[in-house]
């Protein structure tokens, strides 16, 4: 007799669909971290990540008996729920300023030189800002690739695209992101220079 942890997703899913709480608990244990990560990077803060992760699993629990196997992994179904909830969340919060990824970037002390760590953190913050300007599809691709370490084929299953299409989209995303990042970094440097000119060159021009 196999334990739940030894069973495949499909086998556990069949039990969970019959209302077996322990089976659903096993699926939850397998995917809660991944779904949380995905939502965390899509929303940018831990509180909303927790709230939306809970909603994903409540929704999955209520609809698991209606789940139909269409040849896609169970994770694709969960990511689809998460994707839809995050899209709704962004729509509802579109007028509100988004909170930066404070915890993922800040406080990652590497044990190295403090100045180097600070520079690294600033660079990562800049990069995160640029990532968050991408379309939701491209953000999803990057999260699945770098955070979840999925292959192009696995990402394709979740995003409903072919492996080749994912590869192509990834390459285009990478190029666009790098260009945006370079531009963003240049703008940042220009701002610093401008500020320096105002402060040092024209002290009397500053208000107050």
């Amino acid at each position: 007799m196999k334990t739940l942890s030894e069973l495949s997703d499909e086998e556990i899913l069949a039990q969970a669909a019959q209302g077996d709480g322990e089976a659903f608990g096993a699926l939850y244990a397998r995917y809660v971290g991944r779904i949380y990560n995905y939502i965390y990077y899509r929303t940018g803060n831990a509180y909303d990540a927790e709230d939306l992760t809970a909603r994903v699993f409540y929704r999955a629990m209520r609809h698991i008996s209606n789940y139909r196997d269409r040849g896609l992994p169970f994770s694709a179904w969960l990511y689809r729920i998460a994707h839809n909830l995050v899209a709704n969340w962004h729509r509802d919060n579109s007028r509100r300023k988004e909170i930066p990824l404070e915890e993922s970037v800040h406080g990652r002390y590497t044990g190295g030189h403090p100045e180097y760590d600070l520079l690294q953190l600033e660079e990562q913050e800049r990069l995160m800002r640029v990532i968050r300007e991408l379309t939701s599809e491209r953000q999803q691709l990057l999260i699945l690739k770098f955070v979840e370490h999925m292959s192009n084929a696995e990402i394709g299953q979740i995003m409903g695209r072919s492996e080749g299409a994912v590869k192509s989209l990834y390459h285009r995303t990478l190029l666009a992101l790098r260009d945006e990042y370079d531009q963003f970094s240049l703008d940042g440097m220009t701002d610093v220079v401008d500020l320096g000119t105002v402060e040092l060159g024209k002290p009397g021009s500053m208000p107050g």
Binding site: G19, G21, E22, V32, N37, F57, F146, V147, E148, L177
Partner: protein, 102 residues
């Protein structure tokens, strides 16, 4: 030409390394994971008896329906049989004594 291509590839690889350093997996708080699991299981267990009851109810309703149909059919057959027998008795009596004399 080749050098430029190599440089571009290297630039992209460097950029990928930056992305990998930025997009690191995070762990959800243990308290949150445990708490949510408990809530989910509690909700599943709360709805389980209802589901079992409804399945049992369905089986009972089915059995009751089946029994009712059988009883109705038996009753109908019995009524028809008794009607036929009564008619035969009446017609037999009528044939023996058509004027109603004993």
């Amino acid at each position: 030409m080749k050098t430029a291509f190599k440089q571009r590839t290297k630039d992209l690889q460097d950029f990928e390394a930056r992305l990998a350093a930025t997009l690191k997996p995070v762990s959800p708080p243990d308290e949150f994971v445990r708490g949510l699991r408990e809530k989910l299981l509690a909700e599943i267990h709360a709805t389980e008896p209802e589901k079992r009851l409804s399945t049992r109810q369905l089986a009972l309703i089915f059995m009751a329906g089946l029994l009712s149909v059988i009883l109705l059919v038996v009753a109908a057959i019995r009524t028809i049989v008794s009607l036929v027998l009564s008619l035969r008795v009446v017609s037999g009596l009528w044939k023996r004594n058509p004027r109603g004399k004993a």
